[in-house]
């Protein structure tokens, strides 16, 4: 995962670089939008970490010009907490996620991975979430390289969650995807399927949370 960090605070940028290098991700650092525009035009990056408040052109301007050129590179926006409105506008301007300063580096890394996964999900046959690897072609899941014993419905459900990480899925959402019209099902059936899946996933980094009254949410805790 090759990343480009656009951040004007040198000390923060340095820390982030050290942190990601330690994790084994190559990361380039640039201090201003003007320079970033140049390197983005001839270099390829998997992910952009973009500070909004920059000297000269703002992060928004870069984001806007990227999107208007049709560049779909995933962008994670870093924003100061005071500018609460920023996160709204950041998403409006085409950012994929945001993180308010100050942040936990572990959180930053997790968000980056999530974005990368979402991006790669369509392209590759494998979805990797921490120690869980799901093979889309073979319809099999492995935790720490041990293949899980999953029934087809459980596999379907796992795939649905993996494709909708960090999003709330209602029971209706799930039943619509898992069952065809003629199949009879009960909400209980989904509960049972989920309970078995959770048991199988024990020890993996994927957590499936139940929000009563709302639905289910899958999150990779790596």
């Amino acid at each position: 995962m090759r990343m480009l960090l656009i951040e004007d605070n040198e000390s923060l940028a340095d820390s982030i670089r050290v942190y990601f290098r330690n994790l084994g991700h190559p990361i380039d650092w640039i201090g201003s939008v003007e320079k970033a525009e140049a390197s983005l035009s001839f270099d390829y990056f998997d992910l952009l970490i973009l500070d909004i408040n920059l000297p000269g052109k703002s992060g928004f301007q870069l984001l806007q010009s990227l999107r208007s050129k049709g560049n779909r590179i995933p962008v994670l926006v870093l924003t100061a907490r005071t500018e609460v409105d920023d996160r709204v506008s950041a998403l409006d301007f085409g950012a994929d996620d945001y993180l308010a300063k100050p942040f936990d580096f572990r959180e930053l890394a997790a968000r980056c991975r999530a974005l990368y996964r979402r991006e790669r999900g369509g392209a590759s046959n494998e979805i990797q979430c921490g120690n869980l690897v799901y093979d889309l072609a073979a319809h099999s899941a492995k935790v720490n390289n041990v293949t899980l014993d999953l029934r087809p419905r459980e596999l379907q459900l796992l795939e649905l969650f993996l494709k909708n990480l960090d999003r709330v899925l209602t029971k209706d959402d799930i039943s619509n995807r898992l069952y065809s019209y003629d199949e009879a099902y009960t909400p209980n059936a989904i509960e049972q399927t989920l309970t078995r899946l959770r048991k199988q996933l024990d020890g993996s980094t994927l957590i499936i949370k139940t929000i009563r009254g709302l639905g289910y949410l899958a999150h990779v805790d790596d």
Binding site: D166, L214, H219
Partner: protein, 463 residues
Amino acid sequence: MSMTEKSYSIRSRMLGRSALLLLSIFLILSLGVWHYARQSANYSYDRLLNSASLSIMEGLHVYDKQVDLDLPYAAFEMMQLADEDKVFYQALGTQGELITGYPDMPLPNELNEDSAIAFYNAHYLSEEVRVVIRHKRLSEPVVSGWVTVVLAQTLRARHKMMNEILYRSFAVLFGIMACVMIVLWVAINRALEPLSSISKSLASHSLLSAEPIRPTPIQEVSPLVSAINDYQAQLLSNLAVMKRFIADASHQIRTAQSATQAQLDIASQSENLADLPEHLSKIRQEHERLTRLTNQLLTHAMVVHRGDTVVTEQMDIEDVMKKLLTECVRDNAHRMIDFSYQCEQQLPLFMGDSISLREAVRNLLDNAIYYGPEENQIEICLQMDASCIDIIIDDAGSGIPIEWREKALERFQRLENGLNGSGLGLSIVTSVAEAHGGKFFLEDSPLGGLRARICLPKERTLC
């Protein structure tokens, strides 16, 4: 206070309008005076003319079978009272024949025999004249019929008298007007004096000094003085609150900073590398606390600022709460917390500030997570009754004892439960609730912990 309105002086405006009013009164009175002067001049000299004509009439008598006139000297002496006026006269006999005098005197258009006397104006020998015509019936054995005396006088004395009355009246009127103007000027100045004295005392007086403006004995002005004093008192109390806030905030920030500093110092001095993780974890703890404090201070400032200035917008409370809860679940997925959401009925759109409302509820959720036990249960529950929409956050934590709840809503009042907190979170929620015209309550939760309830007024919903 639009800028287009030109500035003006009450004093000159009042004076100007009074002057205008006085001027119109002056004009009306002048018209009256003119009329009066004319009337009285005419009246006086008509009387003179009348007496003289009467005296001439008495000089008419029958002599030798003919009507003859013995023109009385007294009549002319009387006429000479108007000493600059010419006199014309004529006496006509019973057949209308000229007895004596000017033969071609102007007669009135219609001779009215019924009234013994008539006055009229005419033109004679290139002079404007006032004429009196008088009839008398003679009934002597030899001559009987009406005899006539016509007497005319030029108008110089009348004009003179009229002018004299006019000049005098104008002088008096003018004097009165001048006096009234002076009195008005003094009165207006006196009336405006309290205004300038207040502005003087305001100018020399700092609003931030604790001393109020001296009360005035003038009844009309005392509301202004007390309004200013109220305003000042309010400003002072706000200022005091702000001062205390800044003092508290800086105390909190500096305490956290010193703690971090201390841990850093200890860590750097420590020779035992094995101790380092422990120091680092303490530093991280202090830093987390500082971060949280900073976030809350800024949120507080933002919320207060938005409450003062931001125009409300249409918002879907359910949508905001669902998103918030999703975010919260995602961020706390690794914790053993059960989240739930409950909304029995469709809520109408609400006029409010979604950003500050979201901040408030996020604070409540954060509190529930932060202060709650490892295995907790947190529920967002939206309810609507006749008067308000309730946003309820329940938790299964230890709660706040009833006697501390009121205190917990105050800024920087941290409860002695051993956990670190800024003491700002609940006060932010209170501010937001109040900015929306609602209220914030701490209650017992059916889950066993604390129930935080934001009650938003239903009037602000769109139906």
